[in-house]
């Protein structure tokens, strides 16, 4: 991990403006991703992981906005760039794929054209040339008969095929960072594995870094070298993915690891119920004082209810935000 990171987020705060007041939907978010690295962001829905991703690509829309902190891309701050400069990065250097491949593609435009747009927008190609490159792009995501498929509309493709098209679009201009927001959540399990493999292989070939966002800790740990766990708008733990499974430090992470179903566990452990984390994620407008996990935490003490824990660096690498971490 030497040299300048590809992207570095420092103390990022995302505000939610509900008309009468501003609340922080995410705050103190810091992480870095190196060139070609795979980094995961995990948490329950509503924890702020998707809006963090949207902030990186400059797509936060009202009522959400960046309230503070910096996002550096190749050492340059990008959070306050003009709209036109942001567009040069977006799609070209930082690309994103979304969860729902059915609705993420324009239903009345052929998929080939939706890929070709990228070459017209960022590479200055003519439509004719772009159409030809679109066939190549579709071939690179292993869509059979790409020269025929480019003329298809999204509804003529399966969910897996549509997500391949999304990957083709995202990787069309050879971006340095690919943000994948729950890329396989809407897909069948068998297709999931294919799509993840494809995404990982293509990015590895091209040296594209991945920021993978998911609620599925198992999936993220499988794909990514490092994982950050978010809870209620804050990163509570960041570790190497092997470490996070072996010895989770934060009680919330431990809860996530324990709640993962394990194959064969019934034979080994007999009939045991899956462990769940009691309670629900607090609403953005109603975050508790101190450590935001304290109402759901079995180890919470008075200090947890009053003072927000600072980030503690762990000896084995990584950090955790807990007053009582292991």
């Amino acid at each position: 991990m030497t040299g300048a990171p590809l992207i570095e987020v420092e103390d990022l705060r995302i505000d939610l403006d509900d008309g009468s007041r501003r609340v922080a939907a995410a705050e103190g978010v810091s992480f870095r991703i190196d060139r070609g690295e795979t980094f995961g962001l995990v948490g329950e829905s509503g924890c702020g992981k998707s809006i963090t991703a949207l902030a990186l690509i400059g797509l936060l829309r009202q009522p959400l906005s960046i309230g503070g902190g910096t996002i550096r891309f190749e050492g340059r701050e990008i959070q306050h760039l003009s709209a036109a400069r942001q567009r040069e990065l977006r799609g070209n250097r930082i690309a994103m794929i979304f969860q729902e491949p059915m609705t993420a593609l324009n239903p009345v435009s052929p998929v080939g054209r939706q890929i070709a747009e990228m070459f017209v927008l960022h590479k200055g190609k003519s439509w004719r040339e772009a159409d030809r490159l679109a066939v190549e792009a579709l071939a690179s995501v292993r869509v059979p008969a790409p020269e025929r498929r480019v003329k298809d509309y999204p509804h003529q493709l399966s969910g897996g095929m549509r997500q391949r098209v999304m990957i083709a679009i995202a990787l069309a201009c050879g971006p340095d960072l690919l943000i994948a927001d729950e890329p396989t959540t809407a897909l069948d399990v068998t297709v999931q594995a294919e799509i993840i493999e494809l995404m990982r292989n293509l990015c590895a070939e091209r040296g594209t870094a991945i920021l993978m966002i998911s609620h599925d800790l198992g999936l993220v740990a499988n794909v990514c070298r490092r994982v950050a766990v978010m809870y209620a708008g804050r990163i509570v733990e960041e570790r190497g993915s092997a470490d996070i499974f072996r010895a989770p430090s934060h009680p919330y992470t431990r809860g996530l690891v324990d709640s993962l179903p394990r194959l064969g566990s019934r034979a080994a452990l007999g009939r045991t119920r899956l462990k769940e984390i009691a309670g629900v994620v607090p609403a953005i407008t109603n975050f508790p004082d101190g450590c935001r996990f304290n109402p759901r935490c079995a180890h919470a003490t008075d200090i947890c209810r009053t003072i927000a824990p600072a980030a503690d660096l762990l000896e084995a690498g990584g950090l955790v935000r807990c007053h009582h971490h292991a």
């Binding site: 690509i57 797509l59 709209a83 036109a84 942001q86 567009r87 040069e88 990065l89 977006r90 799609g91 070209n92 690309a95 994103m96 979304f98 729902e100 609705t103 993420a104 593609l105 324009n106 239903p107 009345v108 435009s109 052929p110 747009e117 990228m118 927008l121 960022h122 509309y153 509804h155 999304m166 679009i169």
Partner: protein, 307 residues
């Protein structure tokens, strides 16, 4: 596609028959006849002879039977009033009505759709507020009142345009009636377009388009427009039908020699063949336009394909 067209054409037959029957029944139960509309105290002898001549002394079902039989050969019958073939009367008046409806439609689409687009791009902005004021007023103003105001302003006060009539069929005679007829669909198109664009702007694929790094103008041009068109087209199609009905008021107001004024005059004089002919033509045009819209759907939205 061809079999779809054929099936749709077959489906129109029951509709047409139902309309023919309904109009026929309605006019055989309403009081008054061509005879009573001519004179209040006609000689009963004359009345009887006239009724016999026009075939009105036959029972309703016999008259209906012979009417439908003639209709099947394309014969709309003969007008009680003018003794002209109804087909001929309608043919004379179809062109002015078509002119009026298409001019009104062109006006409302050309103004309404862009207005809705511009309003939607900055919701809550000045343009949006103004556009929606125009839209709401346009929908709520009564046509005959608007027509009178326009006449007063542009014909009487400013003297720019003729106040009524068809004249030589020139454009300047067309403007006031077309605007009067086009204002409410224009307002409706502005509102529908605005709503459609606003909804589409929140769609996932628009977020994808933005994530590609395109400008908002391109997002709208490449991704929003075509999707909005599907929704706008539906409204336009429905409005064609509505316009044919509303044209009656406008034609009467401006003494426009179209099918609408023919219809009104024929109803007042109980000229049943002319009424039936006019209504039938309006219904047929409505069905034809609906068919055309259905075909256009398939052209714009690939998810709709007719087998």
């Amino acid at each position: 596609m061809l079999s779809f067209l054929f099936r749709r054409l077959l489906q129109t037959i029951p509709t047409v028959l139902a309309v023919v029957a309904l109009v026929f029944v309605l006019f055989s139960v309403v009081p008054g006849s061509i005879v009573s509309s001519m004179s209040d105290d006609a000689d009963p002898q004359v009345e009887l002879r006239l009724k016999k001549q026009l075939g009105l002394d036959e029972p309703v079902y016999v008259r209906f039977g012979s009417y439908v039989a003639k209709l099947a050969t394309g014969d709309f019958g003969t007008s009680f009033r003018t003794r002209e073939p109804v087909t001929f009367m309608i043919a004379k008046r179809a062109w002015p009505t078509l002119q009026l409806i298409f001019a009104a439609m062109a006006f409302s689409v050309v103004i309404g759709v862009p207005l809705g687009f511009i309003a939607a791009l900055k919701p809550g902005g000045i343009v949006d507020t103004l556009a929606m004021v125009v839209a709401v007023s346009g929908l709520s103003i009564a046509k005959f009142w608007l027509g009178l105001v326009l006449m007063y302003l542009f014909a009487l006060k400013l003297g720019w345009l003729p106040s009524f009539g068809y004249g030589d069929g020139g454009l300047k005679y067309l403007i006031l009636p077309a605007v009067t007829l086009g204002v409410s669909p224009m307002a409706l198109f502005a509102r529908t377009t605005r709503a459609a664009v606003l909804e589409i702007m929140t769609a996932d694929f628009v977020r994808t388009a933005r994530s590609k790094g395109m400008s908002e103008t391109r997002v709208v041009k490449w991704h929003v427009m075509r999707n909005a068109l599907v929704i706008i087209l539906t409204t336009v199609g429905l409005q064609f039908g509505a316009l044919m009905g509303q044209a009656v008021v406008v034609e009467k107001l401006y003494s426009w020699p179209g099918i609408g004024s023919l219809l009104v005059d024929s109803v007042l004089q109980r000229d049943i063949p002319a009424v039936q002919g006019s209504i039938l033509v309006v219904v047929l045009s409505f069905l034809a336009i609906n068919l055309l819209i259905d075909v256009l759907y398939g052209v714009i939205d690939p998810r709709i394909r007719y087998a």
